[in-house]
């Protein structure tokens, strides 16, 4: 039977993390989620008409910004920036929010589309969602009660910059 990284241990970690994210670091970003039913797509798999979103849902997070880039091409000088947003997973669970690839993150009045979602940080290396119990509900014969140990700590959203007028979310008139 496991001895460490129990739910009680993680409860302390949760409090520390929330205090750190909300009161000390206090960086925030918001999610927009596509309304799949309302947003119509064409045969090319694109919503060229109008897009509908739920949100924004604001969360505390860690923001890891890469440098702004100004690549040059025939079009002229362009702009790009990749940002990683690290969310405390329990915050998302409490609000029943499931981030997915393609969702939009609003940060500093700019929009970022999620390319990758990384949920790979486990407390004690264990994910309590997979206690290896039997399919009929039998306890894990080697280590029963694993569902009370470990934790899935974070969700890291890797994003890239999206031009504002593509989403039509901005309160500003981007096109004159």
């Amino acid at each position: 039977m496991a001895l460490f990284t129990s739910g009680r241990d993680f409860s302390m970690m949760r409090h520390i993390n929330r205090e750190l994210l909300n009161d000390i670091i206090s960086q925030q970003a918001s999610f927009y989620k596509y309304k799949i039913g309302d947003t119509k797509t064409n045969i090319y798999g694109e919503a060229a008409g109008e897009k509908y979103f739920d949100g924004p849902y604001i969360f505390s997070c860690l923001v890891s910004r890469s440098d702004q880039e100004f690549p040059e091409s025939d079009l002229g000088v362009n702009f790009n920036q990749a940002i990683d947003f690290s969310f405390f997973r329990d915050d998302l669970v409490d609000t029943m929010y499931v981030p997915e690839v393609g969702d939009i993150v609003l940060y500093q009045e700019s929009y970022y589309e999620i390319d990758d979602l990384v949920a790979n940080q486990y407390f004690g290396g264990k994910n309590p969602d997979y206690p290896n119990n039997g399919s009929a509900g039998q306890q894990n014969p080697l280590n029963p009660g694993l569902s009370k140990f470990g934790a899935n700590v974070s969700i890291i959203a890797k994003t890239h910059y999206v031009p504002a007028d593509k989403l039509n979310l901005s309160p500003y008139k981007e096109r004159l």
């Binding site: 064409n42 090319y44 694109e46 919503a47 060229a48 008409g49 109008e50 100004f70 040059e72 025939d74 079009l75 002229g76 000088v77 362009n78 702009f79 790009n80 920036q81 990749a82 009045e109 700019s110 589309e113 390319d115 890797k158 890239h160 910059y161 999206v162 031009p163 504002a164 007028d165 593509k166 039509n168 901005s170 500003y172 981007e174 096109r175 004159l176």
Partner: protein, 336 residues
């Protein structure tokens, strides 16, 4: 040609004209040729047989009223040639002083501007976006960095990202078109257009002319036939969606094979032979929807260069015609 050894009194004599000039005059006298173009310096005039210019061919078609003994007015020689030493009629030399008419030129930039004019004012590409009509900007490729980043804000968002759709045009090739006519020789252009000019303070329409049935002189600017060229433009259309790209392709394809340009300036025939399109979804970048096409433009170039100014004819006047309808004499015996 003339030599002092022929003289019996052995007195030294200075030749009145240079040997080459004398030979040229003798050649003309024997051949009955026209004087060379007035703008060509005497030392540069060719005395070898040459193809006749359009002006000379036109003049030959005129049959003058020979009974008056006045000769062909189009072939007017200087009646004071002996006194003045000028062997051509100076009336054919028309001063362009105070002439506000701009020199006629068609440059490469004029052709580029014709393409952009047609895009922006005739095709007016637009797409549906965010529930509205979105005009598509057309830009020339690879602008200066400051201009692109600072001045072209109208197609950038708050972060400086280029908003799509956008059309980028870039000239990639200019090729001589030898399948059509040309000025023949830049040292001595042979083919000209005539561009009629309106009345002005020195050539005005007046009622007295009307009473006398005098046809007003029409001034023309002689414009050398340009060099015909085929220019190639590579164009890139970049959009957010395939649906937008389709609409752009439709509108531009419809304009193919027509004459592009400002009706007040120049128009050139443009051909678009095909469109290619691609859609790409790459990691950590926006989805790319891109279309390419090539414009093949048949244009002409009349440059503003000194060689053209020196060698080509600039202006001509039409003949003034006075028609005498009736005359009255006091005594019929005075007639004749």
């Amino acid at each position: 040609m003339s030599s002092s050894t022929d003289n019996t009194n052995n007195a030294p004599q200075t030749p009145s004209v240079s040997p080459s000039r004398a030979f040229e005059q003798a050649y003309r006298k024997g051949k009955g040729d026209y004087p060379a173009l007035p703008n060509v310096p005497a030392s540069k005039r060719t005395i070898k047989p040459r193809p006749k210019t359009q002006e000379e061919l036109s003049a030959e078609k005129v049959e003058p009223y020979t009974e008056a003994g006045l000769g062909n007015p189009n072939k007017a020689a200087n009646p004071n040639a002996k006194e003045t030493g000028i062997d051509f009629n100076r009336s054919t030399k028309i001063s362009q002083r105070d002439d506000a008419t701009k020199s006629y030129k068609i440059g490469v930039q004029d052709i580029d501007e014709a393409v952009f004019y047609y895009f922006n004012n005739v095709i007016q590409p637009e797409v549906q976006q965010n529930g509205g009509i979105q005009p598509v900007p057309v830009i020339y490729g690879s602008p200066e960095r400051w201009k692109s980043a600072q001045k072209d804000g109208y197609y950038r968002d708050k972060g400086g990202r280029i908003m799509l759709p956008i059309i980028v045009v870039q000239r990639t090739n200019l090729e001589k078109d030898r399948s059509v006519t040309a000025k023949v020789d830049s040292n001595s252009p042979n083919l000209y257009y005539n561009l009629s000019k309106g009345y002005n303070s020195k050539n005005f329409y007046n009622p007295f002319d009307l009473i006398n049935n005098r046809k007003p002189v029409q001034q023309s600017q002689a414009i050398v036939v340009g060099d015909f060229v085929t220019m190639t433009y590579e164009c890139v259309m970049q959009t957010y969606y395939m649906e937008q790209l389709n609409k752009l392709i439709e509108s531009i394809e419809y304009a193919s094979d027509s004459y592009w340009g400002d009706p007040q300036r120049y128009k050139f025939r443009c051909f678009i032979d095909g469109f290619s399109s691609q859609t790409e979804l790459s990691q950590s970048t926006e989805r790319l929807v891109r279309g390419n096409f090539t414009i093949r433009l048949r244009g002409q170039i009349i440059p503003e260069v000194k060689q053209k100014d020196l060698n080509s004819m600039k202006a001509t006047n039409s003949l003034a015609k006075v028609s005498v309808t009736s005359e009255t004499v006091a005594d019929i015996s005075n007639l004749g």
